[in-house]
């Protein structure tokens, strides 16, 4: 039997439909390769998440062991959402996260742009600017604590010695200034990360476009706004999201420098959860608090993955 060319073509081009199970069976070797990692993930991530969610519905007074916990349903969540202290800590967390993220990003952006041009000593300056990011957060916290010390700190000593002030300023022993002081330390530590991410992004901006824009009479700001900035959109989004997640979860600086004080003025969610769970042994309410934090961070994570997927699609073949 002969067929026309068109019919033969359509026979050849019709896709072979396979079920999901058939597809999975075809990729069975791939699943076997990732199975050990998945098992480890289930044990160290999935089970603790399940346990924490379960624990969040129980009350654990200090006089009882964990195994004698008392079922209270959603009471822990109600207590958290109706607590004045938690709302105060929430405001602290939002200020901490927003200020640290935005300012660290802007400083990192500026540093990346400044170091993108070639000049003598660029490598050395870049290495110096990375130092805050690579040194231990614990060491940095203790050093900054002494720099800020209300009686004998370095900043206070210099200002008094120069006659600018007659006594050292109070950075971390005052409710009004403790959080901004800690934010400065956090920004100091974080901006090199933004600088590195954006420096990598700047490498992808086509040089010929910038030259063409220059030839067309665009000034420096116009070249940045119309050429560089759009190209850095994807990496900027990813950087901001990563910074936001890291800052929301940032424990070391506030805990070591001030322990959340004075008077809860420097508590953020993560330090407050630690104090409630491990300091006061309210495992149930700490778990509920953690679940809420988890939901917020998962939301940020979702946008991060979307941004990453969007960036990959743009770089597609």
């Amino acid at each position: 039997m002969t067929t026309t060319t068109g019919e033969a073509d359509s026979h050849r081009q019709k896709p072979v439909r396979t079920s999901l199970l058939q597809q999975m069976w075809a990729s069975r070797a791939d699943y076997l390769y990732v199975l050990p990692a998945i098992i480890v993930m289930l044990i160290v991530i999935a089970y603790p998440i399940y346990y924490t969610i379960d624990l969040s519905f129980y009350k654990t007074p200090p006089g009882l062991l964990l195994k004698d916990k008392i079922w209270v349903g959603f009471d822990n969540y109600t207590a958290i959402l109706s607590s004045d202290v938690v709302w105060k800590v929430t405001v602290n967390t939002l200020v901490w996260t927003f200020a640290s993220t935005v300012i660290a990003f802007m400083l990192g952006y500026g540093a990346a742009l400044a170091l993108h041009r070639d000049f003598v000593g660029r490598g050395v300056i870049r290495a110096i600017l990375i130092i805050p990011w690579v040194i231990s957060a614990v060491a940095a916290s203790y050093v900054w604590k002494w720099i800020y010390h209300s009686d004998f700190g370095l900043i206070g000593a210099v200002l008094v010695q120069m006659g600018i002030l007659d006594k050292p300023p109070n950075f971390i022993d005052r409710t009004g200034s403790v959080l901004p002081s800690l934010i400065v330390v956090n920004i100091w530590r974080e901006f090199p990360f933004a600088m590195i991410m954006l420096t990598a992004g700047l490498q992808t901006v086509p040089e010929q476009l910038l030259r063409a824009a220059k030839v067309d009479g665009a000034n420096a700001w116009q070249r940045f706004w119309h050429v560089t900035f759009p190209y850095l959109g994807g990496v900027s989004t990813v950087t901001i999201l990563l910074l936001a997640v890291a800052n929301f979860n940032s424990f070391i600086i506030p805990w070591l420098m001030t322990g959340g004080g004075p008077s809860n003025a420097s508590h953020i969610w993560i330090t407050h959860i630690y104090e409630i769970a491990f300091g006061r042994q309210r495992w149930g309410i700490g778990a509920a608090y953690s679940v809420l934090l988890f939901l917020i961070l998962m939301t940020l994570g979702y946008f991060y993955v979307r941004a990453l997927s969007g960036a990959e699609k743009k770089e597609g073949p």
Binding site: P62, G63, N76, A79, V86, G259, G260, P262
Partner: protein, 494 residues
């Protein structure tokens, strides 16, 4: 030498009154090894070096010296504010234990005061605790009430109840049963710099009352521009309640009635007029007079030590070991700093803790206890009982009970006061007689499982709320009282 006001001690010292009550009620038995009713620096000197003890022989009766076993042990180790001498004794202890019991495989872990409770609680949540733990005095009742600890008393490890301070035995007793053995007990004293007092125009003696402390602190700050009193108000740091509670009790306040002769712990007193007066004194020093370090809200005692040594702080509450710490720090100083440090050391004085306006003197009856856990809470699910008892016996023996408390504390085992090392200690540790004199004024923290949270969080929060102006003194005291009430009713801790 200081003479005790015995009448005052009997009225206010829960330790001595409890001991006397128990002696009157008890049937005729052998007299306790140390006569607490005679307690004075002279008495302590008179019994020092009068008996010898062979630790290996005594503990060999509890666990044979060739016993083969395994032991895991956590303890509060030397802290940043402790002298080098104490660090050496800790090393010597474990060398001696391993030499005495060469066939016990000992795995020990030292933790700081502030980290020990956190880590221990976390480990218990996963049934991964050690077999034996030496906890600060604040912690024992919490874990006894939770059923984590085995019943354990001095008689289980070769000693008797009479060998230990009555107040210390209270701290290991829960619902009539004992769950540990005291290792050491201490009371602190008031330390001051005579040179600073002279330059500030103050008399050559410590302030008699807490109101005097406030006045002296102001005068020192106004005249010399340095901090007067070393206030500490950090949250979740043991130093804070140990230094504030003597003030609170001195003014007649308290969390409950823990400072009374027969406390019932059923009435909250944090918002009483007396407690508010005590808090007001701290407020006056920090806010009104600005005569204490601004960094008090984040300071611990270790932060006060360099200030005191450099002549920037005139008064503080601490252990006799602080004198040794000053000597250690002075060795590391150079040039002008070394000269300043030497001046401070030469002028360092110890006195009794000041009284409240009514003459009430009190201090925290501090120390540590050693406990054995139940198997189900131990990693591996097994407790090597003979090995555990060997460790308990060894640490609470007269010799090691004294040596491990050498510079900063006192032996939990009263027989330790009779050892030759006590005699040496009295000769070498300056001011030990003063802190030892404070023992009868010692008030144990309330023996409740909620006490760690009260002392480490609620009390410091109250201080910080008042001192930062977040609340008035009245509001801060009322807020703290409400928190304690909520805690007693099973509150959520927010």
């Amino acid at each position: 030498m200081l003479m005790l006001k015995l009448g005052g001690a009997l009225m206010r010292g829960a330790v001595v009154s409890t001991m006397l009550t128990s002696l009157v009620a008890a049937p005729a038995i052998a007299a306790p090894p140390v006569d607490l009713s005679k307690w004075s620096p002279e008495y302590v000197r008179s019994i020092a070096g009068t008996e010898t003890f062979d630790t290996a022989a005594e503990c060999g009766k509890v666990t044979p010296l060739d016993y083969k076993g395994k032991l895991t042990f956590w303890y509060q180790g030397a802290f940043e504010g402790d002298p080098d001498l104490l660090r050496q004794y800790y090393k010597d202890f474990f060398v001696a234990f391993r030499k005495t019991y060469p066939n016990i495989d000992l795995q020990d872990q030292a933790l700081t005061y502030n980290d020990l409770l956190d880590k221990f609680r976390t480990a218990l949540a996963g049934n991964a605790g050690p077999m034996v733990v030496r906890l600060q005095i604040l912690g024992g009742v919490e874990f006894a009430s939770k059923g984590v600890l085995q019943e354990l008393g001095p008689s289980d490890v070769g000693w008797t109840n009479d060998d230990f301070w009555p107040g210390a035995m209270k701290s290991v007793t829960w619902q009539g049963k004992t769950y540990g053995v005291p290792t050491n007990n201490e009371t602190m004293a008031f330390i001051w710099n005579a040179d600073i007092f002279k330059r500030a125009g103050l008399p050559d003696h410590a302030p008699e009352t807490w109101d005097d402390v406030v006045a002296y602190s102001k005068q020192i700050h106004d005249k010399l521009g340095i901090a007067g009193y070393g206030l500490v108000a950090r949250v979740n740091a043991g130093n804070t309640p140990y230094r504030f509670m003597p003030q609170l009790w001195g003014y007649g306040g308290g969390v409950f009635d823990e400072a009374d002769a027969s406390p019932k712990l059923d009435t909250i007193r944090l918002n009483s007029p007396e407690s508010k007066r005590a808090l007001q004194a701290s407020y006056d020093m920090y806010v009104r007079d600005k005569s204490v370090p601004v960094s008090a809200l984040t300071n611990q005692q270790a932060d006060n030590q360099p200030l005191f040594l450099s002549g920037q702080l005139a008064m503080m509450i601490s252990h006799p070991s602080d004198y040794s710490v000053m000597l250690d720090l002075q060795k590391k100083a150079t040039g002008d700093d070394a000269v300043k440090a030497q001046t401070t050391i030469d002028n360092m004085r110890y006195s009794l803790i000041p009284t409240g306006p009514d003459g009430r003197r009190a201090v925290v009856f501090g120390g540590s206890n050693i406990h054995i856990l139940k198997p189900e809470y131990v990693e591996g699910g097994v407790v090597d009982e003979p090995a555990a008892k060997a460790m308990v016996c060894f640490w609470t023996s007269p010799e090691w009970s004294l040596k491990m408390a050498y510079a900063g504390s006192n032996p939990g085992n009263l027989l330790g006061f009779k050892t030759e090392w006590m005699k040496t200690r009295l000769d070498n540790i300056k001011f030990l007689d003063v802190t030892t004199s404070m023992l009868p004024y010692g008030v144990p923290f309330p023996a409740l499982p909620e006490t760690p949270e009260i002392m480490n969080h609620i009390i410091p929060d109250m201080l910080q709320n008042a001192l930062t102006g977040a609340m008035t003194v009245d509001q801060a005291a009322e807020d703290a009282a409400k928190k304690v009430e909520a805690l007693e009713k099973g509150g959520d801790g927010l």
